[in-house]
């Protein structure tokens, strides 16, 4: 079945696809987005249920392989110490993200110049700064201006509450003389654009029933739809089509009934992030592109970057009400973010202070680790752990290495028979040393804050939230997949706007940068409409 031709076809309705759709809507071009998932029903989110902690690990599990919703596709991550996390729905992985929203640093775009590793981006922080700010305003970001770890910027809303746990950690950081700051957070702390403010439900990363978390389905999409953008849900794209002149002609997709369509388009925009985008490009073979679309460089799928993640957990004497409030957002420390030549690794990491577990997770973890015993001592031990825990995540910069890659699995397929992605990844020596350093420093600050019990672990397997680098941006067509404004070097009407285009990963949660890049690319497209394909 061949569908009517549209001006712009966006594949994926997550963080970047939504931002691009919103930005391009003002052009009045005919824009269509295809999304393999559907709209989420907030009344079904975990926080509306008594068994909300259980649902976090089942219906709202971060791994599609465990979650196995109809919209999900399997991912073979057996050859990776880090498992891929994502979500497939309108809003994409922002449905489950913690909304921790630190920007990348100016230095993150110049790692070759500054540290002699990887490559510089073809754009810089200053180029993206207006788009960071625009994104903050569009979706509603909270935070506190004046963080000395960043060029000055003003989040539009006041920060999420530190709580007793944040104060406790702040005092610990102060004892050591280390940086810390309330996190920039994509959660509204005051009524904003018709949405009600956060009421500290807790499990943001199983969907926000309140609508206070700024996921793409409730921020960009309602506006884009009102402005005329069309969005088709439950439509799974199999491949991007291309003509003999190396121009994309549209996409072949399956609708909810499994009927195959060919959606034709003048421009195709990929917005499926660092695993989904290379998967589709590699599955789009043709005589002119036998190794996958836009892949004459051979770099589609290569240079996959996660953020290797470490965990330091502390338990304190005093009750901290630590499992109330936005679970993944409280404060951060960037004391060890920038390269220090005195360390045995380059680049650095962000410390993300997150809240403690609820009763079920406290009990399950305590029993599994032998810290909360069976029998008569159970109640006393539970009381010593519950409501007194603080977690510290280490988000380590991952440098690009070509052997870390997304390919197509030769056997595994999704429910439409489309080859599943296979992830092959090895933790680098630099990352291992960075994680070791972070565990040591995380332990140090937990002790300074007064923790009596400290656990450490790295790398965390279920932590592949950030999927970057597999269709990198650059000016040299032999060393990159897209140019400095997201256009494929090989296919002049094909754009990529998601985390795939990252040249390096920085050491922070990437969504704010992904959306800023997407808005920047959309702005570049609008400014170049007259000669978009030249």
């Amino acid at each position: 079945m061949t569908d009517e031709v549209v001006d712009v076809l966006i594949i994926g309705a997550g963080a970047s696809g939504a931002a691009v759709a919103w930005s391009l809507a003002e052009t009045k071009m005919q824009i269509l987005c295809l999304e393999q998932g559907g709209w989420m029903d907030p009344s079904e989110y975990a926080s509306t249920k008594r068994d909300w902690e259980v649902l976090q690990g089942t219906d709202f599990a971060i791994s599609p392989n465990f979650r196995d919703r109809a919209a999900d596709y399997p991912i073979n991550d057996d050859e990776s110490p880090i498992a891929v996390a994502n979500f497939n729905a309108v809003g994409g992985s922002t449905i489950l993200y913690s909304a921790h929203f630190p920007r990348m640093h100016p230095s993150d775009f110049k790692v070759r110049s500054l540290d002699g590793v990887a490559d510089d981006w073809p754009i810089d922080y200053q180029t993206l700064e207006p788009f960071f700010a625009e994104n903050d305003r569009n979706i509603g970001v909270s935070g506190l201006a004046g963080d000395p770890a960043y060029p000055y910027h003003e989040p539009p809303l006041p920060p999420v509450p530190l709580g007793l746990m944040g104060e406790t950690m702040g005092r610990g950081f102060n004892k050591l003389g280390w940086h810390w700051w309330p996190s920039d957070t994509a959660i509204i702390t005051e009524p904003y654009e018709g949405r009600e403010q956060c009421v500290n439900l807790g499990p943001c990363n199983a969907g926000c029933a309140k609508g206070a978390k700024s996921s793409a389905d409730i921020t960009y999409w309602p506006i884009a739809l009102r402005q005329g953008v069309a969005l088709k849900t439950d439509c799974r794209v199999r491949e991007i089509t291309v003509d003999e002149h190396d121009m994309a002609t549209g996409a072949i997709y399956f609708d909810a009934d499994g009927v195959e369509h060919h959606q034709r388009a003048e421009v195709v925009i990929m917005a499926c992030n660092g695993v989904g985008t290379p998967r589709l490009l590699l599955n789009s073979t043709s005589p002119n592109f036998p190794n996958g679309l836009a892949n004459r460089s051979g770099l589609v799928g290569k240079n996959l970057m996660f953020h290797p993640w470490g965990h330091v957990g502390g338990v304190f004497d005093q009750p901290l009400a630590s499992h109330f409030g936005p679970q993944g957002s409280c404060m951060l420390s960037q004391e060890f973010y920038e390269t220090d030549p005195n360390r045995d690794f380059v680049r650095g990491y962000n410390m993300q202070i997150t809240r403690g577990g609820g009763p079920v997770s406290t009990a399950r973890n305590g029993v599994a680790q032998g810290k909360i015993p069976w029998g008569i001592g159970h109640h006393e031990a539970f009381d010593k752990h519950y409501d007194r825990a603080i977690n510290l995540g280490l988000c380590c910069e991952d440098l690009p290495e070509e052997h870390n890659a997304v390919t197509l699995d030769p056997e595994l397929t999704d429910s439409n028979g489309i080859p599943a992605p296979k992830v092959t990844y090895t933790l680098s020596e630099n990352s291992r040393k960075m994680l070791d350093h972070g565990l040591e420093k995380g332990t140090e600050v937990m002790k300074a804050a007064g923790a009596w019990d400290i656990q450490t672990h790295a790398p965390m397997r279920m932590a592949g939230w950030h999927l970057l680098g597999t269709a990198r941006m650059g000016k040299d067509a032999s060393r990159s997949v897209v140019n400095e404004w997201g256009r494929s070097h090989d296919v002049r009407n094909l754009f990529i706007v998601d985390g795939s285009v990252f040249v390096t990963s920085g050491g922070v949660n990437p969504t704010t940068t992904i959306q800023a890049v997407a808005l920047y690319i959309a702005d570049s497209m609008k400014r170049n409409l007259e000669n978009l394909f030249d």
């Binding site: 989110y45 926080s47 509306t48 008594r50 068994d51 909300w52 259980v54 640093h105 100016p106 230095s107 500054l114 810089d124 922080y125 506190l144 000395p148 770890a149 960043y150 060029p151 509450p161 530190l162 007793l164 104060e167 702040g170 005092r171 003389g177 940086h179 810390w180 700051w181 309330p182 956060c198 009421v199 500290n200 439900l201 807790g202 499990p203 029933a209 309140k210 009400a321 109330f324 409030g325 960037q334 004391e335 973010y337 920038e338 390269t339 009763p359 079920v360 406290t362 009990a363 399950r364 029993v367 599994a368 032998g370 069976w374 029998g375 008569i376 159970h378 109640h379 539970f382 519950y386």
Partner: protein
Amino acid sequence: MSSDDIIGSDATLNSDQQRTFVAILDMIIPASDDGRFPSAADMDVLGYIAKTDHQLLDTVRNELDRLNAVSEDLYGVAFGDAGETHRQGLLDGIRGAEPQFLGGLALQTVTLYYQDDRVMEAIGMEARPPFPKGFEVVAGDLSLLDPVRARGQIYRDVED
């Protein structure tokens, strides 16, 4: 199905298994001395496992059978009918050598236990989902940031 089979959702235990199951639950989480916390044996753990982790049922049955067999050998009665000291010694012996023995049952037990209304009340929580009421969280003292501000810029300047 014999008349003394116990039905929990679609899960069944024979009578020996059932007495041992109750004894084990009470050993995982006994009632507190002050009466605030119930015993895990007061809850429908079997029905919960049948609903949430059905594959675990066979493992649990096998583990209960093993406990009963060892207890029969040592004390001439099923585990659930043995004295408290014997039960504890037997369980400690097996779990000392095999820490994962009954581990799946323990995890599902605490998972159900800490969703129970009586337990929620005992730990100071209202028995409700987080939404819609939410929770109060203190804003926190932002003057704690004064030394961070005083230290000044820590990010690297980048030359164009």
